[in-house]
Subunit: 292 residues, 2 copies
């Protein structure tokens, strides 16, 4: 595995490794890698001849009140993990490498897709994500890029950018990897104290409750969201932020679940913000019966 | 010459024509071609094996009060001109081809470069330009793109986008082509009535006056701009909009001309908005003498 920090060095390496008709896979990360990331890497390795991983804690996707310096880092461990999973090139740029002329050009997504849910709670966040991904995609020119479904809105925003700007890239979504008790793997879980970690079990429970409600025949988003909100009060440490139901493929907010949808939930435990989501499949039988 | 309107057809054609190590040149236009455009095409032809020209009147770079439907069009003549100048592929998409999923993703440039001069007068204009160029660049993947210096701020904005987003493209500026009396060639000149066309001669005169003033030893931007403003009043048909001096390479507004700079002038004659610019070279000798 080669480790590079400069854009020019990365591009020289890629030019050397890239051969005609072979795929280049890319996994962008902010480091502090866990099984969610290594699953992305394994998927990329199984699809592509060459795999590039980037580790870059992108300042522009953090809000003014979000502490970027607090974001967990462990480059030594990340390097070990990447090496163990067969990564070909690890790209660890500094801020100056990605924003060499300052922060002037932005890729900005308008509309529900970037403005509801986390877009409303973290203004500017998706602009930062869209901009840094565009930069990285243009530097690396991957054929395929791998994103976890845990950050479902991020995935939707990136798909939109790639489609709207005609980038010749295939975005590959990869299923969320979970802890034994169902909590989605996240670098931010490391912020949780043991007591908070216990309380975090509320997240998968809320998702399971929403899924069950939908499968039992409830098709009203409001009803499901209200149930989630009510259930969230059972955990005194959990500060509910939002629950929202969107179309699974278009990310449009929907009121009546008649096609594959997804509920996204966000909340805080102590200072730690957690997000997660699950697919909701409408209960066709019940819906049919209601027509009688 | 092949003429295509669909993105997929264009990309198939380019894939067929592009050969290893040969350059692909691109000239983006809004049509109604004149000698300014054909000079860009000729330059592209002399540099590159394959030349693509696009004709697309991009709606997102027109303001709400700017009449896009009034923009002059003559596709038959444009096709003839492109053919005569050896264009390989002419791309004439519809709005739906370039914005197939609506208008959600934007490339936005912040800072002086996009906010002063035309950026102040035409809010949103450069966002439209940056977005459509990014789309076209990603569709075509040219090695070199040719822009006229007449739209000097547009050139600066595009250079910034290409650099900031790490696009592997070389932007080639081409000198402004002028009519015999000095008026810069522009599709918009066709709006001018014979009387207005006469009055339009004020534009190159103002530029010449600014250049002369600078060469005679005046290094103060304010003084030069004020002189231009005063001189513009000599033409009762000319409605002065702005005059601004910027650094020739960074596009920063400057107050003291001690390095190659550029004065940009904009104004209206009747309903027709005209812009133009000229390089200002500081008079080194005079500046030196002032130090004694």
């Amino acid at each position: 595995m080669e480790i590079v920090t400069r854009v020019a060095d990365l591009q020289a390496l890629i030019a050397k490794k890239r051969t005609y008709n072979s795929l280049l896979g890319f996994v962008p990360t902010m480091g502090y890698l866990h099984e969610g990331h290594t699953t992305l890497i394994d998927k990329a390795k199984s699809d592509c001849k060459t795999v590039v991983v980037s580790i870059f804690v992108n300042p522009t996707q953090f809000g003014v009140n979000e502490d970027i310096d607090r974001y967990p880092r462990d480059l030594t461990r990340d390097i070990e993990l990447c090496r163990a999973h067969g990564v070909d090139i690890l790209f660890c740029p500094e801020v100056i490498d990605i924003y060499p002329r300052g922060k002037y050009t932005w890729v900005d997504v308008e509309g529900e897709i970037a403005e509801i849910a986390c877009g409303a709670v973290r203004p500017g966040h998706f602009r930062g994500v869209a901009t840094v991904c565009t930069k990285l995609f243009n530097i690396i020119h991957p054929d395929r890029v791998y994103f976890g479904e845990k950050d479902f809105q991020q995935l939707a925003v990136i798909k939109r950018v790639v489609n709207d700007l005609f980038m010749p890239i295939k975005i590959i979504p990869v299923q969320t990897v979970r802890e034994r008790d169902g909590l989605a793997k996240s670098s931010r879980n490391s912020y949780l104290s043991p007591t908070e970690r216990q309380a975090a079990r509320i997240m998968p429970k809320l998702l399971a409750a929403a899924k069950e409600k939908c499968e039992s025949g409830v098709s009203s988003s409001v009803e499901i969201v209200d149930a989630v909100k009510a259930a969230s009060k059972e955990s005194p440490m959990f500060e509910f932020e939002y629950a929202i139901v969107v179309d699974d493929s278009t990310f449009e907010e929907i009121t009546n679940i008649v096609r594959p949808s997804r509920i996204l939930i966000a909340g805080k435990i102590g200072k730690t913000r957690l997000i997660d989501n699950i697919q909701l499949i409408p209960c066709a039988t019940v819906v049919k019966n209601q027509n009688f």
